[in-house]
């Protein structure tokens, strides 16, 4: 075991993957010898050469087009999009190409070797264009897998699974936690199952569901609620697509209550999808309406970031409201 922050865990996973197969390539804007603006790819060019870890020209649609082609050739292509906010020029390549490659060809071709890494989320004074959480756009696209880790241990194991998974995976990294989240991480290779939620804390009164950086807020809110005698079950969804309906439904059948929290705006967000499915699965078990604690339906503001941010206090209030409904 070693102490690593989330960035180091990601760098370590990339290192292991590149050592494992010389068909693994890592690339993106500034990700070459410089190591990326967050340093996630640092040291990889030195170790594996500038043909394995390299810079791309500044063109997201090109990065994903290139990555799709490279993956369809049988390589493992790990493409970094510098910020989730800048993934949209590549939307067509991801939605119409990566996601449909296998289906449209009748399995003649696939881009299973593709992994898209991108930092997402707010709380870093990033304003509109360095704070968004765009997972819901992609969750509407059959053929993709979407994963959002919450800490270094999860990040390493999930990224290694994502790289060698036989499907294209969008791996969204909580940049607020890049250096803030530190934990014990095994130095050797290990994988964590995609599509499987993680029960972070068991409880019997209410289920609190989150993913990525927002799990931290759910945990803090649960601690506050514990002081009021409320026993929260905290679940990290981990995978947005496909998502683990069973684990969440089983928990809600036990607790009868569900609070879902996400960073992204509330309307059309993934919390809405979870709420719809769980009311369908657990209708007769529900003691109160399923609550969504999410971002406002505004662009991500700069000077009002603190107010906009879905902090633990907002989640705590939703827990109390649900308990006293």
């Amino acid at each position: 075991m070693a102490k690593m922050n989330l960035l180091q865990a990601i760098n370590n996973a990339l290192d292991i993957a590149m050592a494992k197969s010389d068909k693994v390539y890592s690339f993106g804007e500034d990700t070459g010898a410089f190591g990326g603006v967050f340093r996630a790819t640092s040291g990889l060019t030195e170790k594996y050469g500038r043909h394995r870890n390299f810079n791309t020209p500044l063109v997201e649609q090109g990065i994903l087009g290139f990555a799709n082609g490279l993956a369809s050739q049988g390589s493992y292509a790990i493409a970094e999009i510098q910020f989730g906010d800048y993934i949209f020029p590549a939307f067509d390549q991801i939605v119409n190409e990566s996601a449909k490659f296998r289906y449209r060809s009748g399995n003649e071709f696939d881009v299973g070797g593709l992994t898209i890494r991108t930092p997402y989320g707010g709380g870093i004074a990033g304003g509109h264009y360095h704070s968004q959480s765009p997972e819901a756009y992609f969750a509407h696209t059959p053929g993709l897998k979407i994963v959002m880790p919450r800490n270094p241990y999860m990040a390493k194991g999930l990224l290694l699974s994502a790289i060698f998974d036989k499907n294209p995976v969008l791996f969204m990294e909580p940049k607020r936690l890049y250096r803030a989240s530190v934990g014990e991480v095994p130095e050797e290779e290990y994988t964590l199952e995609l599509g499987k939620a993680d029960v972070v804390k068991e409880g019997k009164d209410i289920t609190v569901l989150a993913w990525g950086a927002q799990v931290e807020m759910a945990e803090k809110a649960a601690e506050m609620a514990a002081n009021d005698g409320i026993d929260c079950e905290v679940i990290d969804l981990v995978s947005i697509l496909p998502w683990d309906v069973e684990t969440v439904a089983e928990s809600v059948r036990k607790t009868g209550r569900l609070v879902i929290t996400q960073e992204a705006p509330i309307t059309g967000g993934f919390a809405s999808e979870v709420a719809a499915t769980i009311q369908d699965e657990c209708f007769l078990y529900l003691e109160s309406p399923i609550a969504r604690v999410c971002g406002l339906d505004t662009p991500y503001p700069l000077s009002h970031e603190k107010e906009y941010f879905v902090d633990h206090l907002k989640v705590y209030e939703a827990i109390k409201a649900s308990m006293t409904y």
């Binding site: 390539y25 043909h51 791309t56 020209p57 063109v59 649609q61 090109g62 994903l64 087009g65 290139f66 990555a67 799709n68 082609g69 490279l70 993956a71 369809s72 050739q73 049988g74 390589s75 292509a77 020029p89 067509d92 390549q93 119409n96 190409e97 449909k100 296998r102 289906y103 449209r104 060809s105 009748g106 399995n107 003649e108 071709f109 696939d110 299973g112 059959p142 053929g143 897998k145 036989k166 499907n167 599509g195 496909p242 309906v245």
Partner: protein, 399 residues
């Protein structure tokens, strides 16, 4: 002349604009419109067997296109895209490649696919979206693909295949495969961002890719000159990206063949990507949903008919004594009979089993898709008459 060292530029002291038309790229033509070799041109080496295979493929594609447009008009298939007039561009270039080279097409390269050996039955199975289609009946007609023949499955979105070709070729280079990727697209698609991303990245990474632009004069109804672009077509863009570039007469099979052969050598031996612009004309409508009489004249079409790539090549073959008019006609009749027979046969093959609807979304169907399939099947069982194509085989069937 003074130099700027950092950018390695000559320094001038008076403002000097380069005219947008300063770079005029000439067009290679070897086979003249009358079927003779142009004076001063060198005919590429081509033995009788290859020449006749090219001609055979041209004839086959012409018949296939004609019959399938008719089949669409009769309501037997939903849609069709003809490559009429552009046969030399796709077949002549495919003939210059190795069978192991990857082909990434747009949707008018059926000639290249036929040259590789896709059978008439395989064409028909795709066109009728039946259960024998390699693509499992999931895409509109003409969206062919075949891993065995190194022909990447066609997708409708324009230009997406171009940066993919750069990536595919990068993998070929890293694997030291000795192969290249050829990527076809139209002059309209060259306006898309993906085109520019692809060429820039290919030049930067020095990948073994051949970008083949079929400049056929129209993007549906939009004419190329003046409405799609203001400059000298697509070729100068290759130069701007620092790439070896050539423009050829796309209706001249020898010019296409020679340029592609040389481009392949550059790509595979020197890791030099190449842009080829083949000047041609889309003789048919964009698709069966399009009527060109609304945007161009018969005179214009007739002028291009005189440059017909298949007629031109046939004249040359006859001059060589490699085929006679009677033999050509006999071949034509035989192929037509084969196309009609395959069409009739493919038409009666059922659509894929309903279970296929959730296959290949992922490598294995996840739980939620299995659940959705079961719900769908329960519904079909309840209203079988509303879903006649699948209801009769819903239970048992061939799965």
């Amino acid at each position: 002349m003074a130099k700027d060292k950092q950018h390695q530029l000559d320094i001038v002291t008076k403002p000097q604009f380069i005219d947008g038309s300063a770079l005029k790229i000439p067009m290679l033509q070897i086979l003249a419109e009358d079927g003779t070799i142009r004076k001063g041109a060198e005919q590429p080496e081509m033995d009788k067997e290859l020449a006749l295979k090219i001609f055979d493929t041209m004839q086959f594609i012409r018949i296939l296109d004609e019959r399938m447009i008719a089949a669409q008009r009769q309501g037997r298939i939903s849609f069709y895209l003809s490559s009429l007039g552009e046969e030399a561009a796709s077949i002549g270039s495919a003939a210059a490649l190795s069978d192991q080279d990857m082909i990434m097409g747009q949707y008018r390269e059926q000639g290249a696919l036929a040259f590789r050996g896709f059978t008439v039955e395989q064409f028909m199975n795709q066109l009728f979206s039946n259960e024998r289609d390699l693509g499992k009946g999931r895409q509109m007609p003409v969206h062919y693909g075949c891993a065995e023949l190194n022909f990447m499955t066609i997708a409708s979105p324009l230009a997406t295949q171009i940066p993919q070709a750069t990536g595919y070729a990068y993998g070929q280079k890293m694997d030291k495969s000795g192969n290249c990727t050829i990527c076809y697209f139209g002059e309209g698609a060259a306006s898309e961002g993906d085109f520019h991303a692809a060429l820039n990245m290919a030049a930067v990474y020095k990948v073994p890719a051949i970008f083949f632009c079929r400049n056929n004069g129209y993007a549906i109804s939009t004419p190329s000159q003046g409405e799609q672009y203001a400059g000298d077509g697509i070729a100068p863009r290759g130069v701007a990206y620092g790439m070896k570039t050539i423009r050829v007469d796309g209706n001249d099979v020898f010019a296409v063949y020679q340029a592609t052969q040389l481009a392949r050598k550059l790509a595979v031996e020197e890791n030099e990507p190449v842009l080829i612009e083949g000047m041609s004309y889309r003789m048919a409508g964009h698709s069966t949903s399009d009527d060109p009489t609304g945007y161009r004249t018969r005179e214009e079409e007739n002028a291009w008919r005189a440059k017909d790539p298949v007629v031109r090549f046939q004249k040359w073959l006859q001059n060589q004594g490699w085929i006679s008019e009677e033999e050509a006609q006999q071949n034509y009749d035989e192929k037509k009979a084969a196309v009609l027979a395959a069409l009739k046969s493919a038409e009666t093959v059922p659509v894929p089993h309903i279970d296929e609807i959730i296959e290949d979304v992922y490598d294995t169907p996840p739980k939620h898709l299995k659940k959705q399939l079961e719900a769908l099947k329960a519904h079909i069982r309840k209203y079988p008459e509303a879903y006649p194509k699948t209801a009769s085989r819903i239970d048992g069937g061939d799965k």
